[in-house]
């Protein structure tokens, strides 16, 4: 026991005892050299044994914070240990409470924030410093209205806290209180205390300040403070309630977290939290909707491109059926180059190969064999197991003069695998024909017709045979080959070939005797071509020209007149109409009833011819005739 007036260490004159805590007795003293009041705390003998020497004192002396008293010194006098600290003028919170003070929310929030700052400062020291005895009497209220957290002892970090300091049953955290009880009863308790212990104590102090009641160490206070009739916001109550949770993990985990919650207590309001959760829910629902929307857009786009592809392919297929070459090339090129179908075609090699095949066939019919070979080649690369493509590619190569390449393919593993004997015979015949060895070609084709039963191959063979006969001006044989092909396939291609061969046969000198019969055959072919679906320009014009050749000028003009309504910029149609009128005039011996029509058609044709921009001998000859007629 120290007497008033006693001088410690020759420096500190004790004025009086001002308090007793769990860990020691506190005296007001006078610093003789600095001539100012200080606080001297005598550590109880029991706790003095736990002090780890000067190192820990140095830690306390290094602490500087606005809301902490400065530790000046550490004394060992005899067997007693003292700490000397800054004297804070004012009353402690307990004194205010004893006097029945009630504090407004703003003041409580301010003190709580200040205390959180102090705790954050202490807890973030290395090693962390735990106060462990936060209670109203250890919170001084300075004359400026700020707090000052006093009576923190020589460090109580996680390591040292194996031994408990004196605890207050109302303000100590449940785990701290339990540990104290266990130590007192000699039970083993290995639980380490941490910063959350101080957070609980802080909550307990302000529970008392706000409600005027002491928190029970055995009960969860959470529900109490939220339902009490006290003049504080739900947010502030929720902050204190959270600090007071019995379970450490349910509390604020750090003083910084608690300070953040206090900086806007309305965020802790249960209703506010509910709205925040609803906002998060609505954002989550929106994200789901966005995902669904984007997926639908993506799927729809894909579906759309498939639908467009199907439509475009149908159109292309119709054009291919009708052999409308210009349409086939423009439609196929558009499909192959369009970004709309790129993704779809990229994943469906068979579809792309199908388009390339139709395009190749079109080029082939137009005798553009190089382009045809290029299309077939590309298609075959996509569908390397398609024997038909391999055959068409090789034939197109032969026709375009790339015989060496065609031979290499025939002899390659792919060629051997994909080409049947019949197909090889056909290609061989093509090669022979290119070498102008018609006899060999016809022999090979004969062998093909004997051995092969594949319809497509036979048709190709007959068409090749017809073209060989055409080349040899044996048009009758050519027509016979085409008739054989027609029995297998009534396609427009065969009919066109047949019509052309029949016309050539009719105009051939050697066949003049049968001219009308050949023209009848040609007429039948072109009538058939014009009777099915949508005939091409050439089919319609050829029909009119065959009729003209047969002397059926009126029928010819009827068909040309129909054409004229469709192809209203083409000079060829009115030109042939004029020739028909001229021949008709010759036949009937004058221009009666037709002169006006003839002049009108000629003027119409000339008008179109001038804008055509090229020279046509037939049109020039007509102009001469008309000029003479005028004169």
């Amino acid at each position: 026991m120290i007497q008033d007036g006693e001088i410690l260490d020759g420096m500190y004159q004790i004025i009086r005892e001002i308090g007793r805590g769990g860990t020691g007795i506190i005296y007001l003293a006078y610093h003789l050299r600095l001539q100012k009041r200080v606080v001297v705390k005598k550590i109880k003998d029991h706790f003095a044994g736990q002090i780890n020497g000067r190192a820990e004192v140095d830690i306390l002396k290094r602490l500087h914070h606005s809301y902490l008293p400065q530790v000046y010194d550490f004394l060992v006098v005899g067997t007693s240990i003292y700490t000397v600290m800054e004297y804070v003028e004012g009353q402690d919170l307990q004194q205010y409470l004893d006097q029945g003070y009630h504090f407004p929310e703003q003041v409580i929030r301010q003190w709580l924030i200040q205390l959180c700052e102090v705790l954050e400062y202490l807890h973030t020291q290395n090693p962390p410093i735990l106060h462990s005895d936060i209670k109203p009497s250890n919170i001084m209220i300075t004359s400026q209205g700020n707090v000052c957290l006093i009576d923190f002892n020589i460090s109580l970090d996680g390591e040292v806290s194996k031994d408990i300091q004196g605890v207050s049953p109302w303000f100590a955290a449940p785990e701290q209180y339990q540990k104290a009880q266990d130590i007192l009863n000699g039970r083993k308790n290995t639980q380490l205390l941490d910063a959350r212990m101080d957070i609980y104590s802080l909550g307990a102090v302000f529970y008392t300040v706000m409600t005027g009641q002491l928190p029970s160490p055995d009960r969860e206070q959470y529900g109490d403070i939220l339902s009490m009739e006290i003049p504080y916001s739900d947010g502030l109550r929720a902050v204190v309630a959270k600090a007071l949770r019995k379970k450490r993990t349910a509390r604020f985990q750090t003083a910084r977290q608690m300070k953040k919650a206090l900086s806007d207590v309305s965020r802790m309001d249960p209703l506010y939290k509910g709205y925040t959760a609803a906002q998060a829910g609505s954002v989550f629902a929106w994200i789901l909707c966005v995902v669904a929307g984007v997926l639908l857009l993506y799927y729809g786009n894909w579906q759309n491109s498939v639908e467009k592809w199907q439509q475009a392919y149908r159109q292309l297929y119709v054009s291919a059926e009708n052999q409308e070459e210009t349409d086939i090339i423009s439609q196929a090129t558009e499909i192959l180059n369009s970004r709309t179908y790129k993704g779809y075609l990229g994943k469906h090699d068979d579809k792309k190969a199908g388009v390339l095949r139709l395009l190749g066939e079109s080029y082939f019919r137009q005798e553009n064999f190089e382009e045809a070979a290029s299309c077939y080649g590309e298609a075959w690369e996509l569908m390397p197991k398609d024997g038909g493509l391999c055959r068409d590619y090789t034939v197109a190569l032969v026709r375009s003069g790339q015989i060496g390449k065609a031979r290499r393919i025939m002899e390659s593993a792919d060629g051997l695998r994909n080409l049947s004997d019949g197909e090889r015979l056909l290609i061989q015949a093509e090669i022979s024909r290119m070498a102008e060895d018609d006899e060999h070609a016809l022999e090979e084709l004969g062998e093909l017709f004997e051995r092969e039963s594949d319809r497509e191959l036979l048709i190709s063979g007959y068409l090749l045979e017809a073209s060989i006969y055409d080349g040899r001006e044996e048009y009758g044989n050519a027509v016979a080959s085409l008739e054989a092909a027609r029995e297998l396939d009534g396609s427009k291609e065969v009919l066109r070939h047949m019509g052309q061969s029949a016309v050539k046969a009719a105009s051939s000198e050697s066949r003049k005797v049968n001219e009308n019969a050949w023209l009848q055959k040609a007429l039948a072919c072109y009538q058939s071509l014009n009777g099915n679906g949508s005939p091409s320009y050439e089919d319609r014009l050829n029909l009119a020209l065959v009729e003209r050749a047969m002397g059926k000028y009126k029928d010819s003009n009827t068909h040309l007149n129909e054409m004229n309504q469709v192809y209203n910029e083409d000079y060829v149609v009115p030109m042939w109409m004029c020739y028909n009128y001229l021949d008709l005039a010759k036949e009937q011996g004058g221009y009666e009833n037709i002169l006006e029509e003839l002049k009108f058609r000629f003027q119409d044709g000339m008008h179109r011819y001038r804008s055509f921009g090229k020279t046509d001998p037939d049109m020039e000859a007509l102009a001469e005739i008309m000029k003479e007629l005028e004169e």
Partner: protein, 44 residues
């Protein structure tokens, strides 16, 4: 459903959900603001 209908449905979901989100955020934000204002007006 055709591809176009899927795309229209997707676009409608995107548009309506965004409108819904904006509306919900505005309403909830207003409610939260009211709580904040009440807290500081009444207790400070």
């Amino acid at each position: 459903m055709s591809g176009e209908q899927y795309m229209i449905t997707g676009a409608a979901i995107l548009l309506l959900s965004t409108l819904g989100l904006v509306l919900a955020e505005w309403m909830l934000g207003r409610k939260k603001k009211q709580i904040r204002e009440q807290t500081y007006q009444i207790y400070d």
